[in-house]
Assembly symmetry: C2
Homo-oligomer: 387 residues x 2
């Protein structure tokens, strides 16, 4: 076992949403969820973990800045990794060695793009390598940030809510690898001034006050989980799209049914949904699907063949404030033709969207083997100084 390990891990975007916990401490969800894992080529968390018998305490640097190790979720992950390491037969002196951790995201944390999911998935995956853990680690990632467990696998992933009180059956499993259905994804980053309500207090409030969330959990989600898994397995895009959009809407509906309400989507978000529905109505079956997490940014799933025309139409209706070149980031886009049916649709003011990230379904976390990738020096301090 190496004493220094560096990994990257992906962001994931739920298509059946997780919202509400049955256990706050163990981060056990009220319902199953399903997500797509996004390629680490465009967005990833990167983490270096190092153990050294000379270290006197566990330390962590996030985006270049040392922060306290006393975060209960971080401590909970560390404790569990050490326990699993011991169970996996790793020697006691390795298990007890202190660690230094350095982690950063290659995308803005503030953008509300599931940064904590990628971050904890990366941390736990790297620690697994460092401590020779052989068991399922999705349970451990879950202890850091619920949806982090879904970033442990590539492709399409299901997080099972589990039934046991200790949470040991609340794990993530892969539905299909990325090669099965390499859908494309556009992330539409909305220009927004509003401060959003954090996910943890937001979901606590929903679980406590929404009457509709009970129906969602018991009736809507279980059926949708089965249906979307089948849609993924069959690569049935229109079925996938309809369930994805309905579930996003229902998630925001229960947020609105919360008291006081949790409002995450804004007028720009609703402009996007209206545009997507109008676009889809031009075809016999839906071509694109929106989904919104706890923020105003849209995540659009679409098949590769739909990318050129949709991209052209999107930039026509939502024009950039500046140049088209800086508007689309990530994978290159071949622009097709603006769909004629949208020519009469009202063009929006330039700049409603900050930028668009073009990415696709990709792999799970991976180790980077080159020493140049490490974020810590051999003496265990960050290679780069903080910002």
């Amino acid at each position: 076992m190496d004493s220094m390990v560096t990994c990257i891990a992906p962001v994931n975007i739920a298509v059946i949403k997780y919202w509400g916990k049955r256990d706050e401490k163990l981060i056990l969800p009220l319902n199953d969820s399903v997500s797509g894992t996004l390629s680490t080529d465009q967005m990833h968390a990167k983490t270096t973990v190092m153990r050294c018998k000379d270290f006197t305490e566990d330390k962590i640097w996030l985006n270049g800045k040392e922060v306290s190790f006393s975060n209960p979720r971080l401590l909970s992950c560390m404790k569990e990794i050490r326990r699993l390491s011991r169970e996996s037969g790793t020697s006691e002196d390795i298990v007890n060695t202190k660690v230094h951790i350095c982690s950063e995201n290659n995308f803005p944390t503030a953008a509300g793009l599931a940064s904590s999911a990628a971050g904890y998935a990366c941390l736990v995956f790297a620690l697994k390598e460092l401590f020779g853990v052989k068991q399922d680690i999705t349970r451990v990632a879950r202890l850091g940030s619920g949806s982090a467990c879904r970033s442990i696998y590539g492709g399409f992933v299901r997080w099972h809510k589990g039934d046991l009180a200790d949470g040991s059956d609340s794990i993530a499993t892969q539905i299909a690898p990325p090669s099965h259905w390499p859908l494309h994804v556009f992330i539409l980053v909305v220009n927004d001034k509003q401060k959003k309500i954090g996910s943890t207090p937001g979901m606590q409030r929903t679980a406590l006050t929404s009457e509709l969330v009970q129906y969602r959990i018991k009736e809507s989600v279980p059926k949708r989980i089965e249906d979307i898994i089948q849609a993924v397995k069959e690569r049935n895009f229109d079925k996938f799209a309809e369930i994805t959009m309905k579930d996003s809407n229902q998630f925001h509906a229960v947020c609105l049914d919360t008291y006081p309400p949790n409002i995450y989507m804004n007028d720009i978000s609703h402009e996007i949904t209206s545009f997507v529905h109008t676009y889809n109505e031009l075809f016999p079956k839906p071509k694109v699907a929106y989904t919104f997490d706890a923020g105003p940014n849209a995540c659009i799933y679409l098949e590769e063949e739909s990318v050129p025309d949709f991209a052209a139409t999107l930039q026509y209706i939502f024009p950039p404030e500046e140049t088209l070149e800086s508007y689309f980031k990530g994978e290159s886009v071949q622009f097709g033709t603006v769909n004629e049916g949208l020519r009469t649709y009202p063009q929006q003011s330039p700049g409603l969207l900050k930028y668009i990230i073009h990415t696709k379904i990709g792999d799970g976390p991976k180790r980077l083997d080159s020493s140049e990738d490490h974020l810590l020096t051999l003496s265990g301090v960050p290679v780069k100084n903080g910002p």
Copy 2:
């Protein structure tokens, strides 16, 4: 019986919302609803109905312009009034006489302020007088526009969904007269460019596609109806406020759970809800309650004693684009002091609200006895030409 009758009828604002029909033709709702009737001093529909044996056909003028009489809802009301008139013992020659109708609102129809409810209540109330109808007419008003049945009474009114297939038990009844609890009402007219989805197609789509609306109808509404009736009877404002706000949010939640979603509230609407919750948190119990119909405008219920300080704080946080004098319409407002707790709340850009109508709970429809009030001349044509 006079051969010309002129009446005015009030607008009503639901606190437990009606959304979705179990019968489109008879306009039978999926759930009971409760509303407050607003004073006709500020907003009303006014209708003159006239019968004359010389008239060769039924005719109608709306806001000064003749429109077709072939509207099925209008025909349905006329047919039912003539049937009830016959049952009430009115002579057959009167029953069969053709009518001329002239109707107008003293507030903008386009503002989305329940104009059809006031209009049909006024029409049916005036026809009742003209044709000597003695039975319940809320059922007839319902045939014109569902919520019109609630505008037949003053104070607080319940519309019973009824269980019979013919709709004969789907009537409105008064919970309490206006003197029992003369609550004040501010209508915040939002500056908005969006075109809203009409109520009829909007509620059809919700009934067809929302999974959550089933739960709302079966579980949430029946309990809320009982609770809010008790709150009205006890004049328990904080209980009334909480149920009102929760039900408005839940109504918009099921609209969002509709596919494609019905979006009626906008960013300004949500700014208002956020402001109201922040305002209420400064007191041990809620002082004001918002509710939103199928549009972005807020309707705020509050007790008389809360008016001065709330008005001062409201105009401080949502400043007028022009002068304060033209900002508040309707009943005069004595401005109190801006609540200190809101001094740090972000002041909004001037002009988010077009204007604010100050009104209160008031009486049901009434006859105007002066001949100057008639909208038709003695020969049965509008007094005023159309716009």
